[in-house]
């Protein structure tokens, strides 16, 4: 049997105005390129759960679209919401040729009936425990329409096989992904991922390091992006992990929450571990906008310490990519300038501004639907984080769209990029200390 695993990778954007603006802005283009070039870790994990004797191809959807569909006995897709329609179109083409199709991933898990209209089987929940059964049934020509995980989030991360990084054409990627945890305890209203795959769990450090080492064996200069929602929730695990990373010459990136800044020892370990950047969801700089965002109002309580946190992390040479959500219920037309001022004054090396997005299945989606504020029932190709799909409370849709364009222009232009780089260098240089007598002598000056 020959199986094609088809990855729906990349960044999507429907707004023509933002698309035209975005391509001219270096800060936006750089991060877009990185995201666009990340492989689908979910499919590589399925490949690892595939029994010997079954041939596996890992293919990027863009290659399938522009070339041949390939000669497969089964194809499997993993898709996010923004790419769902593209996935369905491609799935329909395979099925028209008589090739059975399986669709999984977050979107199919949330809307299995919808995905089932374009698939012979839908994988609902975490794929690892379901995949061997799907393959058995496919080989016997007896695929069932739905394969559902008994209990969401019950997959034991210690027991899964390491993803098949060896299937990738490494030269095509500038980062490879490793997952160290699933879920996030913060439970933000807008988050599609943190609760759907069950309770928060970490992968044992020893197993994580096996995956890291597998990548290092394939790649001379590895750059790893942790595919986590919130990496350092478990501080005991985090210290063990960071000490192990420090023994290796590997650069890496991850997502965390702002609480790490309160732990100087952890920050020192982070800096020594090769971590280049952490992405933190600050979400807003307005207490009104943060109010009620997560169940415990945790982010609201952290806000006053945002600037100290950024300085504490960046001073150690680990840059911060700060994320802000626009269109929150407390936001007004003044919000855009407030976010700009905060980003510039705090000198985050990088920032990411997106609009509030009601992904299907989230508490946010259901609330906005109940309040009659969604701009349609189905807008999956607009769930890009940059396209507006709802009526904001404190401004018009047009205000929100124009505000996002304003922030793109203000934050991602070359002059501002250079200024932020300079601030980061100054922080890092301060951390290094003054030149030593030996340094000055080396230049020919007097000690």
């Amino acid at each position: 049997m020959r199986v094609g695993l088809i990855a729906m990778s990349g960044v999507r954007l429907q707004s023509e105005a933002l698309r035209e603006l975005g391509v001219t802005l270096p800060g936006f283009v750089d991060r877009g390129k990185v995201i666009a070039a990340l492989p689908s870790l979910g499919l590589l994990a399925l490949a690892a759960q595939t029994p010997p004797g079954i041939d596996i191809d890992y293919v990027e959807a863009a290659d399938v679209c522009s070339h041949e569909l390939g000669d497969y006995d089964l194809v499997a897709f993993s898709t996010f919401t923004a790419m769902a329609y593209e996935c369905y179109e491609l799935a329909d083409r395979y099925r028209a040729r008589g090739v059975p199709v399986v669709i999984g991933g977050l979107h199919a898990t949330l809307l299995p009936e919808e995905a089932g209209q374009h698939a012979d089987a839908v994988c609902i929940g975490e794929g690892e425990p379901l995949w061997p059964r799907i393959l058995e049934d496919a080989a016997a020509g007896q695929l069932r329409p739905f394969y559902r995980q008994d209990e969401p989030g019950s997959c034991d991360l210690a027991g899964t096989a390491s993803p098949r990084f060896d299937l990738l054409d490494i030269d095509r990627y500038n980062r490879l992904t490793v997952q160290t945890s699933r879920g996030c305890p913060r439970d933000c209203e807008f988050c599609a991922a943190s609760r759907i795959l069950g309770r928060y769990r970490v992968k044992p450090v020893e197993k994580v390091m096996r995956e890291v080492d597998a990548i290092a064996a394939l790649w001379d200069r590895p750059f790893i992006e942790l595919a986590d929602d919130n990496t350092f929730v478990d501080r005991t695990w985090a210290r063990e992990f960071l000490r192990e990373m420090a023994r290796r010459d590997i650069r890496w990136f991850t997502e965390t929450d702002v609480s790490i800044a309160e732990d100087p020892e952890l920050l020192d370990l982070l800096a020594a571990s090769g971590c280049q950047q952490v992405l933190i969801g600050f979400e807003s700089v307005s207490p009104t906008s943060l109010d009620g965002l997560d169940r415990g109002n945790w982010k609201r309580k952290q806000m006053d310490g945002y600037r100290r946190a950024i300085d504490a992390i960046q001073a150690r040479g680990v840059s911060v990519n700060g994320c802000f959500i626009l269109g929150l219920d407390g936001d007004t037309p003044d919000t855009f300038e407030q976010v700009r001022d905060f980003v510039l004054e705090s000198a985050l090396l990088e920032s990411q501004v997106t609009v509030l997005t009601p992904f299907p299945g989230t508490r946010l989606y259901h609330r906005l639907k109940d309040e009659g504020r969604l701009l349609g029932d189905e807008f999956w190709d607009r769930c890009t984080l940059f396209d507006v799909n709802f009526r904001p409370k404190g401004m018009s849709v047009a205000d929100l769209e124009q505000g996002l364009q304003f922030l793109f222009s203000e934050l991602y232009n070359e002059r501002i990029q250079a200024r932020r780089k300079r601030h980061y260098m100054d922080l890092y240089r301060d951390r290094l200390g003054a030149p030593t007598p030996a340094d000055v002598t080396a230049r020919g000056g007097e000690a």
Partner: protein, 91 residues
């Protein structure tokens, strides 16, 4: 005239960041697109150079110092610390 840092000394520093043997580092190779130093490492390298030679790189040159020969030429053209104190480059 005061002595300036040698190219081989700067080569050693850049090679350390690029994780390549100093002798294998071509002077005109693009450190970022060809040797894979990412943008953050590039900033750290430039911060190291500023600190080591007690100089300051103008913001508009942060992206253009992308080869060993450009970095070496820039460092070698800078006034020393004492010259700076007399009104040379910005602190």
């Amino acid at each position: 005239m005061r002595p300036v840092p040698s190219e081989s000394e700067i080569r050693q520093l850049v090679a350390e960041f690029a994780r390549v043997p100093p002798e294998g580092l071509r002077a005109d190779v693009d450190l970022f697109s060809e040797l894979g130093i990412d943008s953050l490492e590039a900033l750290k390298l430039l911060a190291w150079i500023e600190r080591k030679y007690d100089i300051r790189i103008p913001d508009h040159q942060l992206t253009s110092l992308n080869t060993l020969d450009r970095i070496a030429a820039f460092v070698q053209q800078q006034p020393g610390p004492e010259d700076s104190r007399r009104g040379g480059s910005a602190p």
